[in-house]
Symmetry: C2
Subunit: 121 residues, 2 copies
């Protein structure tokens, strides 16, 4: 039997909506989510968990209250739990997030930017 790998490129081709994470796989109680984004997000944090950002295409900046991280293609960044941050991208970024199932994109901030959770593609 041939078991099929999950192609990130193929999955990205299936959606255009930005700031709306799509789950592509689960490992135990963690999820792999693809996101397309551009512009400014809201300040938020995740009090209960770290969050892993792997940039696939483009350049993501994550602002912190005392500085920023610039993350290019093939680069990984872990935002520690409880640390306030605000993603920003001048041009569209293709990002993979890895975090526990159930984490909302805006943490506890709520608001218009809060995406529906656990949407698979």
């Amino acid at each position: 039997m041939a078991y099929k790998a999950i192609s990130l490129k193929e999955k990205y081709s299936l959606f255009t909506k930005q700031w709306a994470p799509k789950v592509i796989a689960e490992m135990n109680d963690y999820q792999f989510k693809l996101v397309k984004l551009v512009g400014d997000f809201v300040w938020h944090d995740h009090p209960e968990t770290d969050e892993a950002f792997l940039v696939i295409e483009g350049t993501l900046r994550i602002d912190f209250t005392d500085g920023a991280a610039v993350i290019g293609p093939g680069e990984l960044y872990i935002v520690p739990k409880g640390v306030r941050h605000k993603p920003y991208a001048e041009n569209e970024v293709k990002l993979m997030l890895i975090e526990p199932r159930g984490v909302l994109n805006t943490g506890n901030e709520g608001g218009l930017r809060t995406a529906q959770n656990d949407v698979w593609i």
Copy 2:
């Protein structure tokens, strides 16, 4: 302050030894590990956890008792816990593994292929 992202390319340039996972980051109690590998590994499983394989360069085959998965660059595969598998690569593969801290590369099989765990780079 400038916070530094982790470049996979830069980290791969720091080692040549194959089948020896190097930890580059932690998210909660999970680790991101880079591995270079070629040839055949041993049959094993991880009774306690799923294991995520993200191929960065090259083509990895994972043999199962009833088939195989072929995983190319930019492709992800999750081996479910308890499923016996044997990685194989004809040419060198650069792989990122994501799994809980403490998981041994050979599961409970032991043997010469068992790499030192929790080696950071």
